[in-house]
Protein backbone atom coordinates (compact mmCIF):
# COMPACT_ATOMS: atom_id res chain seq x y z
CA UNK A 1 0.00 0.00 0.00
CA UNK A 2 1.27 3.51 -0.70
CA UNK A 3 2.12 5.79 2.17
CA UNK A 4 -0.82 7.97 3.12
CA UNK A 5 -0.49 11.69 2.81
CA UNK A 6 -0.78 12.31 6.56
CA UNK A 7 2.55 10.68 7.23
CA UNK A 8 3.96 11.94 3.96
CA UNK A 9 3.07 15.49 4.91
CA UNK A 10 4.24 15.30 8.48
CA UNK A 11 7.33 13.35 7.58
CA UNK A 12 8.25 9.72 7.23
CA UNK A 13 10.08 9.78 10.58
CA UNK A 14 6.99 10.91 12.53
CA UNK A 15 6.31 8.88 15.64
CA UNK A 16 3.62 6.28 15.08
CA UNK A 17 3.35 6.76 11.32
CA UNK A 18 3.13 2.97 10.99
CA UNK A 19 0.11 2.97 13.30
CA UNK A 20 -1.63 5.66 11.25
CA UNK A 21 -0.83 3.95 7.97
CA UNK A 22 -2.03 0.59 9.30
CA UNK A 23 -5.33 2.10 10.47
CA UNK A 24 -5.92 3.95 7.19
CA UNK A 25 -5.02 0.83 5.21
CA UNK A 26 -7.54 -1.16 7.24
CA UNK A 27 -10.25 1.43 6.56
CA UNK A 28 -9.39 1.37 2.85
CA UNK A 29 -9.53 -2.42 2.80
CA UNK A 30 -12.90 -2.38 4.55
CA UNK A 31 -14.25 0.12 2.01
CA UNK A 32 -12.88 -1.90 -0.91
CA UNK A 33 -14.43 -5.08 0.49
CA UNK A 34 -17.76 -3.28 0.86
CA UNK A 35 -17.70 -2.14 -2.77
CA UNK A 36 -17.31 1.59 -2.07
CA UNK A 37 -16.58 3.65 -5.22
CA UNK A 38 -12.98 4.76 -5.65
CA UNK A 39 -13.85 8.45 -5.38
CA UNK A 40 -15.66 7.84 -2.09
CA UNK A 41 -12.74 5.83 -0.72
CA UNK A 42 -10.26 8.58 -1.50
CA UNK A 43 -12.48 11.26 0.02
CA UNK A 44 -13.19 9.27 3.17
CA UNK A 45 -9.49 8.59 3.66
CA UNK A 46 -8.56 12.23 3.10
CA UNK A 47 -11.15 13.39 5.64
CA UNK A 48 -9.96 10.77 8.09
CA UNK A 49 -6.31 11.71 7.63
CA UNK A 50 -7.12 15.36 8.24
CA UNK A 51 -9.04 14.36 11.39
CA UNK A 52 -6.11 12.32 12.70
CA UNK A 53 -3.77 15.23 12.04
CA UNK A 54 -6.14 17.59 13.90
CA UNK A 55 -6.43 15.18 16.83
CA UNK A 56 -2.65 14.79 17.00
CA UNK A 57 -2.22 18.56 16.88
CA UNK A 58 -4.27 18.81 20.08
CA UNK A 59 -1.99 16.37 21.93
CA UNK A 60 0.88 17.47 24.18
CA UNK A 61 4.37 17.56 22.70
CA UNK A 62 6.54 15.61 22.15
CA UNK A 63 4.37 12.96 20.50
CA UNK A 64 4.99 9.43 21.60
CA UNK A 65 3.81 6.15 20.14
CA UNK A 66 1.43 5.74 23.08
CA UNK A 67 -0.21 9.09 22.30
CA UNK A 68 -0.65 8.14 18.64
CA UNK A 69 -2.05 4.80 19.72
CA UNK A 70 -4.52 6.46 22.06
CA UNK A 71 -5.65 8.78 19.25
CA UNK A 72 -6.15 5.84 16.88
CA UNK A 73 -8.03 4.01 19.63
CA UNK A 74 -10.51 6.90 19.82
CA UNK A 75 -11.47 6.32 16.20
CA UNK A 76 -14.05 3.77 15.15
CA UNK A 77 -13.10 0.28 13.99
CA UNK A 78 -12.43 0.17 10.22
CA UNK A 79 -15.35 -2.19 9.62
CA UNK A 80 -17.80 0.53 10.71
CA UNK A 81 -16.87 2.61 7.66
CA UNK A 82 -18.04 -0.18 5.37
CA UNK A 83 -21.54 -0.20 6.86
CA UNK A 84 -22.68 2.55 4.51
CA UNK A 85 -21.86 0.50 1.44
CA UNK A 86 -21.74 -3.27 1.97
CA UNK A 87 -22.05 -3.94 -1.79
CA UNK A 88 -25.11 -1.76 -2.14
CA UNK A 89 -27.00 -3.30 0.75
CA UNK A 90 -27.71 -1.46 3.96
CA UNK A 91 -26.37 -3.03 7.11
CA UNK A 92 -27.40 -2.59 10.68
CA UNK A 93 -24.84 -1.30 13.09
CA UNK A 94 -25.27 -4.54 15.00
CA UNK A 95 -24.14 -6.50 11.95
CA UNK A 96 -20.95 -4.52 11.62
CA UNK A 97 -20.27 -4.52 15.33
CA UNK A 98 -17.35 -6.80 16.16
CA UNK A 99 -18.42 -10.08 17.69
CA UNK A 100 -17.66 -10.77 21.31
CA UNK A 101 -15.37 -13.64 20.42
CA UNK A 102 -13.26 -11.28 18.28
CA UNK A 103 -12.69 -8.82 21.05
CA UNK A 104 -12.59 -11.04 24.14
CA UNK A 105 -9.32 -12.87 23.45
CA UNK A 106 -5.98 -11.65 22.32
CA UNK A 107 -5.63 -14.26 19.58
CA UNK A 108 -2.11 -13.30 18.44
CA UNK A 109 -0.83 -14.14 21.92
CA UNK A 110 -2.64 -17.48 21.85
CA UNK A 111 -1.13 -18.22 18.43
CA UNK A 112 2.34 -17.35 19.69
CA UNK A 113 1.84 -19.52 22.78
CA UNK A 114 0.64 -22.42 20.62
CA UNK A 115 3.65 -22.08 18.34
CA UNK A 116 5.97 -21.93 21.35
CA UNK A 117 4.39 -25.10 22.75
CA UNK A 118 5.09 -26.83 19.42
CA UNK A 119 8.76 -25.83 19.54
CA UNK A 120 9.14 -26.78 23.20
CA UNK A 121 7.31 -30.06 22.59
CA UNK A 122 9.62 -30.99 19.75
CA UNK A 123 12.76 -30.16 21.71
CA UNK A 124 11.65 -32.22 24.72
CA UNK A 125 10.48 -35.07 22.49
CA UNK A 126 13.86 -35.20 20.78
CA UNK A 127 15.62 -35.13 24.14
CA UNK A 128 13.38 -37.93 25.37
CA UNK A 129 14.12 -39.95 22.26
CA UNK A 130 17.85 -39.34 22.67
CA UNK A 131 17.96 -40.60 26.23
CA UNK A 132 15.41 -43.34 25.54
CA UNK A 133 12.90 -42.02 28.06
CA UNK A 134 9.32 -43.26 28.11
CA UNK A 135 6.26 -43.03 30.31
CA UNK A 136 3.56 -40.47 31.15
CA UNK A 137 5.92 -37.50 30.90
CA UNK A 138 6.66 -38.27 27.27
CA UNK A 139 2.94 -38.71 26.67
CA UNK A 140 2.25 -35.28 28.15
CA UNK A 141 4.90 -33.72 25.95
CA UNK A 142 3.35 -35.38 22.89
CA UNK A 143 -0.06 -34.08 23.97
CA UNK A 144 1.36 -30.56 24.34
CA UNK A 145 2.81 -30.88 20.85
CA UNK A 146 -0.47 -32.01 19.32
CA UNK A 147 -2.43 -29.24 21.04
CA UNK A 148 0.07 -26.70 19.75
CA UNK A 149 -0.15 -28.07 16.21
CA UNK A 150 -3.96 -27.94 16.27
CA UNK A 151 -4.49 -24.64 18.13
CA UNK A 152 -1.89 -22.46 16.39
CA UNK A 153 -3.45 -22.32 12.89
CA UNK A 154 -6.87 -21.68 14.42
CA UNK A 155 -5.46 -18.84 16.53
CA UNK A 156 -3.61 -17.39 13.51
CA UNK A 157 -6.85 -17.41 11.53
CA UNK A 158 -8.73 -15.70 14.39
CA UNK A 159 -5.88 -13.17 14.73
CA UNK A 160 -6.19 -12.27 11.05
CA UNK A 161 -9.94 -11.78 11.47
CA UNK A 162 -9.32 -9.66 14.57
CA UNK A 163 -6.76 -7.52 12.73
CA UNK A 164 -9.08 -7.00 9.76
CA UNK A 165 -11.80 -5.89 12.14
CA UNK A 166 -9.34 -3.33 13.53
CA UNK A 167 -9.45 -4.83 17.02
CA UNK A 168 -5.86 -6.02 17.29
CA UNK A 169 -3.06 -3.97 18.77
CA UNK A 170 -0.52 -2.69 16.24
CA UNK A 171 2.26 -4.79 17.82
CA UNK A 172 0.16 -7.92 17.30
CA UNK A 173 0.53 -7.69 13.53
CA UNK A 174 4.23 -8.57 13.63
CA UNK A 175 3.56 -11.22 16.25
CA UNK A 176 1.07 -12.94 13.94
CA UNK A 177 3.47 -12.75 11.01
CA UNK A 178 6.36 -14.21 13.00
CA UNK A 179 4.16 -16.93 14.46
CA UNK A 180 2.82 -17.92 11.04
CA UNK A 181 6.31 -18.08 9.54
CA UNK A 182 7.75 -20.12 12.40
CA UNK A 183 4.77 -22.48 12.36
CA UNK A 184 4.93 -22.91 8.57
CA UNK A 185 8.65 -23.63 8.77
CA UNK A 186 8.73 -25.90 11.78
CA UNK A 187 5.61 -28.04 11.62
CA UNK A 188 5.88 -29.52 8.09
CA UNK A 189 9.60 -30.21 8.61
CA UNK A 190 8.99 -31.82 11.97
CA UNK A 191 6.09 -33.90 10.70
CA UNK A 192 8.30 -35.07 7.86
CA UNK A 193 11.06 -36.04 10.28
CA UNK A 194 8.58 -37.90 12.47
CA UNK A 195 7.18 -39.70 9.43
CA UNK A 196 10.71 -40.63 8.38
CA UNK A 197 11.47 -41.97 11.84
CA UNK A 198 8.23 -43.96 11.91
CA UNK A 199 8.68 -45.47 8.45
CA UNK A 200 12.46 -45.80 8.60
CA UNK A 201 12.85 -43.36 5.71
CA UNK A 202 10.51 -45.09 3.27
CA UNK A 203 8.14 -42.09 3.31
CA UNK A 204 10.86 -40.04 1.65
CA UNK A 205 10.50 -42.00 -1.60
CA UNK A 206 6.93 -40.90 -2.49
CA UNK A 207 7.51 -37.42 -1.04
CA UNK A 208 10.68 -37.09 -3.10
CA UNK A 209 8.81 -38.13 -6.23
CA UNK A 210 6.03 -35.62 -5.61
CA UNK A 211 8.58 -32.89 -4.92
CA UNK A 212 10.46 -33.75 -8.10
CA UNK A 213 7.29 -33.58 -10.22
CA UNK A 214 6.31 -30.29 -8.63
CA UNK A 215 9.70 -28.66 -9.13
CA UNK A 216 9.86 -29.99 -12.70
CA UNK A 217 6.44 -28.46 -13.39
CA UNK A 218 7.49 -25.15 -11.79
CA UNK A 219 10.67 -25.11 -13.88
CA UNK A 220 8.85 -25.82 -17.15
CA UNK A 221 6.18 -23.26 -16.33
CA UNK A 222 8.81 -20.61 -15.61
CA UNK A 223 10.64 -21.45 -18.84
CA UNK A 224 7.37 -21.26 -20.78
CA UNK A 225 6.55 -17.80 -19.47
CA UNK A 226 10.09 -16.52 -19.97
CA UNK A 227 10.21 -17.71 -23.59
CA UNK A 228 6.66 -16.59 -24.29
CA UNK A 229 7.53 -13.08 -23.11
CA UNK A 230 10.89 -12.98 -24.92
CA UNK A 231 9.97 -14.34 -28.34
CA UNK A 232 8.08 -12.09 -30.78
CA UNK A 233 4.56 -13.22 -31.62
CA UNK A 234 4.37 -15.50 -34.63
CA UNK A 235 2.86 -13.69 -37.65
CA UNK A 236 -0.30 -15.39 -38.79
CA UNK A 237 -1.28 -15.72 -42.46
CA UNK A 238 -4.62 -14.04 -41.86
CA UNK A 239 -3.29 -11.28 -39.63
CA UNK A 240 -5.23 -8.59 -41.47
CA UNK A 241 -8.43 -10.54 -41.03
CA UNK A 242 -10.37 -9.23 -38.09
CA UNK A 243 -12.39 -12.38 -37.68
CA UNK A 244 -10.95 -13.99 -34.57
CA UNK A 245 -12.57 -17.34 -35.30
CA UNK A 246 -10.89 -17.59 -38.70
CA UNK A 247 -7.53 -16.60 -37.15
CA UNK A 248 -7.68 -19.19 -34.46
CA UNK A 249 -8.61 -21.97 -36.88
CA UNK A 250 -5.85 -21.06 -39.33
CA UNK A 251 -3.07 -21.43 -36.72
CA UNK A 252 -4.11 -24.21 -34.44
CA UNK A 253 -0.61 -25.02 -33.10
CA UNK A 254 0.96 -21.53 -32.97
CA UNK A 255 2.37 -20.33 -29.65
CA UNK A 256 1.05 -16.77 -29.82
CA UNK A 257 1.69 -14.30 -27.02
CA UNK A 258 -1.94 -14.60 -26.01
CA UNK A 259 -1.62 -18.31 -25.38
CA UNK A 260 -1.22 -19.34 -21.79
CA UNK A 261 0.27 -22.50 -20.45
CA UNK A 262 -2.40 -24.99 -19.57
CA UNK A 263 -2.72 -25.66 -15.88
CA UNK A 264 -2.41 -29.17 -14.54
Amino acid sequence: MPEHSTTATVGSNVVGCDLINAYLDSVEQALISAGAPRTDRLQVLQDLEAQIADMLAQQPRPLTEDIVHSVIAQLEPPSHFAANYANGKELNAAETRPSRSQSRFRWPMIAAAGCASVLIGYVFLMLAAAIGAAGPAVGMIAMLLLIGIAVTPLAIWKSIKQSRAGLALPADRNLVLRTAIVYAAVVPTSLLLLACAATQGIIMIPIGMVAFVYFQYALVRRLWHRLNDTLPPQPTPGADNNNSTARSTSTPMSFSSAMSMPAI
Binding site: S5, T9, T39, D47, A50, I52, N84, A93
Partner: protein
Protein backbone atom coordinates in the same frame (compact mmCIF):
# COMPACT_ATOMS: atom_id res chain seq x y z
CA UNK B 1 -66.96 -18.21 26.95
CA UNK B 2 -63.60 -16.51 27.39
CA UNK B 3 -62.20 -17.34 30.76
CA UNK B 4 -59.29 -14.94 30.55
CA UNK B 5 -58.36 -11.98 28.42
CA UNK B 6 -54.85 -12.03 27.03
CA UNK B 7 -53.51 -8.66 25.93
CA UNK B 8 -52.73 -8.82 22.21
CA UNK B 9 -49.72 -6.54 22.46
CA UNK B 10 -48.00 -8.74 24.99
CA UNK B 11 -48.28 -11.74 22.69
CA UNK B 12 -47.25 -10.10 19.41
CA UNK B 13 -44.58 -7.57 20.45
CA UNK B 14 -41.51 -8.94 22.23
CA UNK B 15 -41.04 -7.45 25.65
CA UNK B 16 -37.38 -6.71 25.00
CA UNK B 17 -38.01 -4.48 21.97
CA UNK B 18 -34.59 -3.53 20.62
CA UNK B 19 -34.64 0.22 21.13
CA UNK B 20 -31.00 0.52 20.08
CA UNK B 21 -31.69 -1.03 16.71
CA UNK B 22 -34.80 1.08 16.23
CA UNK B 23 -32.94 4.29 17.05
CA UNK B 24 -30.06 3.26 14.76
CA UNK B 25 -32.47 2.85 11.87
CA UNK B 26 -34.11 6.17 12.69
CA UNK B 27 -30.76 7.99 12.80
CA UNK B 28 -29.69 6.34 9.56
CA UNK B 29 -32.76 7.69 7.82
CA UNK B 30 -32.15 11.18 9.14
CA UNK B 31 -28.38 11.29 8.59
CA UNK B 32 -28.58 12.99 5.19
CA UNK B 33 -30.93 15.64 6.51
CA UNK B 34 -28.69 16.33 9.51
CA UNK B 35 -25.48 16.53 7.47
CA UNK B 36 -26.97 18.82 4.83
CA UNK B 37 -28.53 21.00 7.52
CA UNK B 38 -25.24 21.18 9.42
CA UNK B 39 -23.31 22.17 6.29
CA UNK B 40 -25.88 24.87 5.50
CA UNK B 41 -25.79 26.18 9.05
CA UNK B 42 -22.00 26.29 9.21
CA UNK B 43 -21.74 27.77 5.71
CA UNK B 44 -18.46 26.07 4.99
CA UNK B 45 -17.03 23.26 7.08
CA UNK B 46 -14.40 20.55 6.92
CA UNK B 47 -15.07 16.93 7.79
CA UNK B 48 -13.83 16.81 11.37
CA UNK B 49 -15.57 20.12 12.14
CA UNK B 50 -18.87 18.61 10.94
CA UNK B 51 -18.29 15.46 12.99
CA UNK B 52 -17.64 17.53 16.11
CA UNK B 53 -20.68 19.72 15.40
CA UNK B 54 -22.94 16.68 14.97
CA UNK B 55 -21.57 14.77 17.96
CA UNK B 56 -22.24 17.81 20.14
CA UNK B 57 -25.96 17.17 19.64
CA UNK B 58 -27.16 14.46 21.99
CA UNK B 59 -29.00 11.51 20.52
CA UNK B 60 -27.77 11.89 16.96
CA UNK B 61 -24.58 9.86 17.46
CA UNK B 62 -23.41 10.63 13.94
CA UNK B 63 -19.75 9.62 14.02
CA UNK B 64 -16.99 9.76 11.43
CA UNK B 65 -17.79 6.32 10.04
CA UNK B 66 -21.24 7.61 9.07
CA UNK B 67 -20.44 11.21 8.25
CA UNK B 68 -17.42 10.81 5.95
CA UNK B 69 -18.96 8.23 3.57
CA UNK B 70 -22.13 10.33 3.53
CA UNK B 71 -20.17 13.49 2.69
CA UNK B 72 -18.41 11.62 -0.11
CA UNK B 73 -21.71 10.40 -1.54
CA UNK B 74 -23.43 13.78 -1.27
CA UNK B 75 -20.44 15.40 -3.01
CA UNK B 76 -20.50 12.74 -5.73
CA UNK B 77 -24.23 13.33 -6.29
CA UNK B 78 -23.79 17.11 -6.53
CA UNK B 79 -25.43 18.16 -3.27
CA UNK B 80 -22.15 19.41 -1.84
CA UNK B 81 -19.18 21.29 -3.28
CA UNK B 82 -15.71 20.37 -2.09
CA UNK B 83 -12.68 22.64 -1.98
CA UNK B 84 -9.30 21.81 -0.58
CA UNK B 85 -7.32 24.21 1.59
CA UNK B 86 -4.05 23.82 3.50
CA UNK B 87 -4.25 22.96 7.17
CA UNK B 88 -1.76 23.93 9.89
CA UNK B 89 -2.09 20.43 11.36
CA UNK B 90 -0.97 18.38 8.36
CA UNK B 91 -2.70 17.24 5.17
CA UNK B 92 -5.04 19.70 3.41
CA UNK B 93 -8.58 19.95 4.74
CA UNK B 94 -11.56 19.41 2.48
CA UNK B 95 -14.16 22.11 2.94
CA UNK B 96 -17.77 21.35 2.07
CA UNK B 97 -20.38 23.86 0.92
CA UNK B 98 -23.99 23.11 0.08
CA UNK B 99 -24.97 23.53 -3.59
CA UNK B 100 -28.27 24.85 -4.92
CA UNK B 101 -29.33 21.23 -5.58
CA UNK B 102 -28.43 20.42 -2.00
CA UNK B 103 -30.47 23.35 -0.70
CA UNK B 104 -33.49 22.28 -2.72
CA UNK B 105 -33.14 18.73 -1.50
CA UNK B 106 -32.74 19.89 2.09
CA UNK B 107 -35.82 22.11 1.85
CA UNK B 108 -37.84 19.19 0.51
CA UNK B 109 -36.58 16.93 3.30
CA UNK B 110 -37.34 19.55 5.95
CA UNK B 111 -40.85 20.03 4.62
CA UNK B 112 -41.42 16.30 4.71
CA UNK B 113 -39.87 16.04 8.15
CA UNK B 114 -42.13 18.80 9.39
CA UNK B 115 -45.21 17.03 8.00
CA UNK B 116 -44.14 13.71 9.50
CA UNK B 117 -43.38 15.35 12.84
CA UNK B 118 -46.77 17.08 12.92
CA UNK B 119 -48.57 13.84 12.10
CA UNK B 120 -46.68 11.88 14.72
CA UNK B 121 -47.36 14.61 17.29
CA UNK B 122 -51.07 14.47 16.47
CA UNK B 123 -51.12 10.69 16.87
CA UNK B 124 -49.27 10.84 20.17
CA UNK B 125 -51.48 13.62 21.52
CA UNK B 126 -54.70 11.99 20.38
CA UNK B 127 -53.83 8.53 21.68
CA UNK B 128 -55.08 8.99 25.32
CA UNK B 129 -58.41 10.50 24.23
CA UNK B 130 -59.10 7.51 21.93
CA UNK B 131 -58.58 5.09 24.81
CA UNK B 132 -61.41 6.77 26.63
Amino acid sequence: MHSEVVPVASKTIPSNLDIDQWSTQLRKGLAELCVLAAVRQLGEAYGYQLVQFLTDHNGLELTESTVYPLLARLAREGYLNVTSAPSPAGPPRRYYQITSAGKQSLDAMLAHWSAVGTSIQKIICSAPSQEK
